[in-house]
Amino acid sequence: MLRNAWVIPALPVASFFVILLLGKRMPGKGHEVGLAAVGLAFVLSLVAAAQWIDRPATLEVEPAGAEAAVDHGTVPAEAETGPEADHGAATLDLAAAEEEAEGEHEVEAIRAPVVREFTWYDNGAVTVKAGTHMDGLAVVLVVVVTLISLLVHVFSTNYMHDDRRYTHFFAALSLFTAGMLIMVTSSNTLQLLFGWEMMGVCSFMLIGHWWEEKNNSDAALKAFFTTRTGDIGLLIGISILFFGAGQTFDIEALNNAALSGTIGRSTLVAGAAALLCAVIGKSAQFPLHTWLPDAMAGPTPVSALIHAATMVVAGVYLVARLYGVFWSAFDIGGGGINPVALFGGITILIAAALAFVQADIKKVLAYSTVSQLGYMVMALGVGAWTAGIFHLFTHAFFKGLLFLGAGSVSHAVHSFDMKKDMGGLRTSMPTTFKTFLIGTVALAGIPPVAGFWSKDEILLGAGENGYGLFLVVGLIGALMTAAYMTRCVYLTFFGQYRGHGHPHESPPAITIPLVVLAVLSVGAGFLNAPGIGLFGEWTDNATVLSAGVAHHEFSVSTAVIGSLAGLVGIALGYAYYRRNLGPHRLTERSAGARGGYRFLENKYYLDVLYTDTVVGSIKGPIARAAYWVNQNVLDGIVNAAGTVARASGRFVYDVIDQKVVDGLVNGAGAGAEEGGSALRVLQTGRVQQYAAFLFGSVVVLGGALVLFV
């Protein structure tokens, strides 16, 4: 399956077309095709994962060196011009296998990625290939994406039942899945861009699924435009890196070029900064995070799939994939501060603060997602590569679980407002309650559930790699996360039921995915637990190793501090809400608290800044100025050109044509006439005169002849 990994994205693409063409006529209105395609893709991705795990480690890499990896089994990675390039042959070099992980070693052997490309466009100077590049990172993401997508498909069959555009919903889900899979398995930046943009379009379609309400279409547009603003950076970054690395789009080549110093320093920093813009946009980092909470206007399965587990992690994936570029450009190995970690860190804090003031359960989860994305980006920024990817992996499960749980709750109470319509639901919706609780615990990072292991690794990485500030940020974030999630759980499931309906547990189509994800949330963390470390081993790749990303041993102190932060947060939340301790009604007593609360409620006035100041000034004064320039300056120039042309035409006509040219012509005629009149005198009509001239000429010529010859 690794060699035929292209099938995995191809299945959802095919199902997209089939659903569009035939879906309405099917008994299940197209969801069968979607389910079958994504299900099959999931199975195949599991096969690919199994194949990857079984793969022998043949690729020798010198850790922290600047050289490209040398695979003793096959030809080097970049020297391919044929239609196919396969790097996955079995090794013959036992010496390499002997030098496996045994403590300190000069050369590490890891699994070589399976690359299969064909040349899509070649004009002599530029060769563009299309193909798949399967390594640990790609396999992990493929499994995650197809699994979450499958669970969302199952969830949607019930949740979106009798929806006005059921078929198109499933078609868009398939297309989105295909886009993400294409992006994840791509071997070059151009294909990555292709998948990236596909996801952008599908996210627009899916967020605005109920576009009849203006809120929803506004949210879809906001999401699209905000991510688009970041996508400018992606285009620029890809172009800069293309030229900087000697005209190649190949990801491995780019990483190697970045790490070995082939790309010039300023080019590299410019390219990485541009790519960082794309990450900020797509992965909802500060300051382009404003679209994610509004995107909750879309259906809950969409939020679960796109805005929890898959699309938003595309930015994180981009950094992880092109880690050589970011590592070299921002000197991540050096410690201190770098832009990636900075943006991640800021995002963690501000999003967590905003989660406290939300009444809508999905908005809480949205801000939580933004905050957790900040964790992932920060992890990559502090050099904890495996931790960041691992957190992506676990976060997909528990955030997806939380979103689907929120969907289940809203399905029961027909509302998302926690304060008004929920409360005390743990008795009426036990399964949902239990799975939601497991998700919360995972998110808070309490051992031994999944979130703990991944978050702990991030904190460990921050501490050990010289990013002490970000360790503190991470801890504060963990505390806040636990606190607002406790608030959320309390408002939804505890206390008195404040709504007006009769909530009951959701049908199996909804609860089964919840249970599956809950199990995964608990168990997935153990993949990279100390002593097991499987995840880390599976996802190691040449770029990360040769960059010098360090794997740190488990540190009990960090683990304890991390868990403590989470527990303290839960305790605070419990105390504040359940026991009603603490400064309740502070905003009514203190103007400062009220101001702070309003500041948070208005999302730091960022939306105001963007809509009114930035866009407004463009729409208003700048547009008017541009219009003025257009009407007066540009049109003035054009009109002046026209007037000049007319005047010069008139001049040419009057002076040159009438006087000069016609003068010449008429003059020629007049000259001929006058010449003729002058010569007419000679023509008397008398023959004898002509004869006189004749003989006279003869005389003259003869005389000349005689005299001079």
Binding site: F695, G702, G703
Partner: protein, 164 residues
């Protein structure tokens, strides 16, 4: 030799004077008569040059036919008999100048080229038989052409001058 030169001088003088009178006389008929003198003189010159056949033909054709034709022409065009006012047009001066210059040029050329050339002494008289042979052997084609030309001239003259 001397006799020939004397005779030549006499004939040449007569011819010259007659020619001058042809172009200056105010009487047309007199002009025609002076022309007779010139033509006859020419025939005499031919005999001096031992071209007797040509001399005979000259008399026959020119004096006998052409001159009669001229007289007919003068008669038919009601030429005034006797002296008339003017027979010269107003470019007499130009014509005189041209003619004199022409004479000058020709004279200079001739003197320069043939200043001391003498005619062969005792040249044999070229018999008519030789002339006839030459015409009908060497120059038979021009002869035929001339005959056609004469035919054409005859027809042309009739066509032009007939009254219809």
């Amino acid at each position: 030799m001397i006799a020939q030169n004397l005779i030549f001088g006499a004939i040449a003088g007569a011819m010259g004077l007659a020619a001058l009178r042809v172009v200056t006389t105010k009487n047309i008929v007199h002009a025609a008569l002076y022309l007779v003198v010139v033509l006859a003189g020419v025939a005499a010159i031919y005999i001096l040059l031992a071209a007797e056949f040509t001399a005979a033909v000259q008399i026959l054709v020119y004096v006998g036919a052409i001159l009669v034709l001229f007289l007919f022409g003068i008669m038919l065009t009601r030429a005034p008999i006797g002296r008339t006012a003017e027979l010269d047009n107003d470019q007499r001066g130009v014509a005189l100048v041209v003619a004199l210059f022409l004479l000058g040029v020709l004279g200079a050329v001739l003197q320069d080229a043939f200043g001391s050339t003498k005619l062969p002494e005792d040249a044999a008289v070229q018999r008519s038989a030789e002339v006839g042979t030459s015409i009908f052997q060497t120059y038979v084609i021009p002869f035929e052409v001339v005959s056609v030309l004469l035919l054409a001239a005859l027809v042309g003259a009739v066509v032009i001058a007939r009254r219809d």
